[in-house]
């Protein structure tokens, strides 16, 4: 009887400790987009990190705390991948400080390229993910993952994977072909003048500059801007301990529009000389 009880306790502890180990651990996998029957030479893919409630993972610039999420690819011979495409991050605020990252399901898209004479029927992509995940506490989350895809047959991604990739691609910052920008140093900040012949400036309800490099600009949830006629002036404040005075503005401009068609968000890559 006691022996059985002890055995049950042992089993319970085993199950409980196993559960405790997986609790709060994100699920991570590589997904591939659909491609046609003929051997494809360019495949859209993504690393997907599914986080537990309340946890977040970081953007390429983590902001005031955290760590950039990074990826190391191990690829078959002659296979290449693009750099990770960083979708517009969410801004997390805490006690006046701000971090950039993703919660719930974080998608990190990339492209796989193969040469014309590539003859293998399947490939395996390996990724070493190095990251930090945080809630009220932080912990390193490093994983080795791999994904295999057959190339000699048509591949149709699941609806869930297709939706994730579609959503990710629609949230990628694009090259700026709509805004006219002018940036100049002013006191402890950079003033970014924005005008456009395509976007109605008076329909902009919010605008935010998120820098690629940390330590130069103050990270914050709200940045001040003023609209005067057809021009908007955004103030990007410097960090009080800025590591350098930049000569170019590198990052993304996120614009929230409120027009007759409803609310929408645009994000542009910015590489603007500061006068």
């Amino acid at each position: 009887m006691i022996k059985n009880l002890l055995y049950s306790l042992f089993l319970f502890q085993l199950v409980f400790s196993a559960f405790a180990q997986v609790k709060n651990e994100p699920e991570v996998k590589i997904i591939f987009d659909s491609f046609p029957l003929e051997k494809s030479r360019n495949i859209n893919a993504a690393v997907v990190v599914r986080l537990e409630d309340g946890w977040h993972i970081y953007w390429r610039n983590p902001g005031d705390s955290g760590m950039p999420t990074s990826f190391e690819f191990i690829l078959p011979e002659n296979v290449k991948v693009s750099e990770i495409k960083w979708i517009v991050p969410k801004i997390f605020e805490f006690e006046g400080y701000a971090s950039y990252g993703y919660e719930d399901v974080a998608v990190f898209p990339f492209n796989i390229y193969m040469p014309e004479n590539f003859i293998q029927d399947e490939i395996t992509i390996e990724v070493n993910l190095k990251s930090l995940i945080c809630k009220d506490v932080c912990k390193p989350f490093n994983q080795k993952i791999n994904g295999t895809i057959r190339l000699d047959e048509m591949y149709i991604a699941s609806k869930a994977d297709s939706d994730l990739l579609f959503s990710a691609y629609t949230n990628l910052p694009v090259k700026n072909d709509k805004l006219k920008l002018y940036a100049k140093n002013f006191s402890d900040s950079v003033l970014i003048n924005i005008s456009s012949e395509i976007i109605k400036i008076n329909k902009i309800k919010n605008v935010h500059f998120i820098p690629y490099e940390n330590g130069i600009f103050k990270n914050s949830v709200v940045q001040n801007f003023t609209v005067s006629g057809s021009e908007l002036v955004l103030t990007a404040e410097f960090d009080p301990f800025k590591t350098k005075v930049p000569d170019t503005l590198n990052g993304i401009l996120v614009i929230d529009l409120n027009s007759e068609e409803g609310n929408s968000r645009l994000a542009f890559e910015v590489n603007q000389k500061i006068e």
């Binding site: 005031d64 705390s65 955290g66 760590m67 950039p68 805490f94 006690e95 006046g96 400080y97 971090s99 190095k130 930090l132 945080c134 009220d136 506490v137 932080c138 912990k139 390193p140 940390n214 330590g215 009080p240 301990f241 800025k242 590591t243």
Partner: protein, 199 residues
């Protein structure tokens, strides 16, 4: 008249707050905090000495990297033996990660063989916010004249990997060496990295 008075009060309050913010190459704001043994320390007590402030949270993975590897303790030992005052400051609010009882702080500090001058408790986060401490660790150096001369990370490897310490460029030891040798500090600010301070 009443409006003018209110405006003046608000303005003076604003100026007072602004003046309390630490800025590079300006006088470091004074503070008084109790250490883990209940003894009070003021920054002004260390006039004429170089003071280093290290924001700490023993449970943060980035702090663990520097303490489990003994990197932080060896820096503490090296520089306190040369007369530098090394103050570890914890701004974790009650109930938040890193906020421990005095006994627990002393136990952990002893287990780590920490060599700081004192471990100061800043539960209401006033000193942390005054210095703009964002992360643990986040390092600040005050010269013998009482001016803030360095603010930033301990080094340039923003990871939790102990192996990265070998190739890291340590900004703190470079700044302290330059300061002690009467040289200009080459890198006065760097990007701090780590967990958020648990205000």
């Amino acid at each position: 008249m009443k409006n003018k008075f209110i405006t003046l009060i608000v303005l003076l309050f604003g100026i007072a707050l602004f003046a309390q913010q630490a800025k590079l190459n300006e006088s470091a704001p004074n503070f008084t905090l109790k250490d883990s043994n209940g003894k009070e320390h003021s920054l002004s007590d260390f006039k004429g000495k170089i003071v280093l402030l290290e924001w700490i949270n023993y449970d943060c993975p980035f702090v663990k990297k520097h303490y489990n590897s003994k990197n932080m303790q060896s820096l503490q030992e090296k520089y306190t033996s040369k007369g530098i005052i090394w103050l570890a400051i914890c701004s974790s609010a009650p109930g938040k990660q890193g906020n421990f009882s005095a006994d627990e702080i002393n136990k952990r500090s002893k287990d780590h063989n920490a060599k700081f001058t004192a471990y100061l408790v800043d539960e209401n986060g006033k000193v942390g916010k005054m210095y703009g401490a964002k992360t643990t660790p986040h390092m600040f150096i005050i010269n013998a004249e009482g001016k803030l001369v360095y603010a930033g990370g301990i080094d340039d490897k923003a990871t939790t990997d102990v192996e990265d310490l070998m190739s890291a460029r340590n900004f703190v030891s470079a700044a302290l060496d330059e300061l002690m040798n009467g040289k200009q500090i080459t890198t006065q600010s760097s990007t701090p990295y780590g967990c958020s301070v648990k205000y």
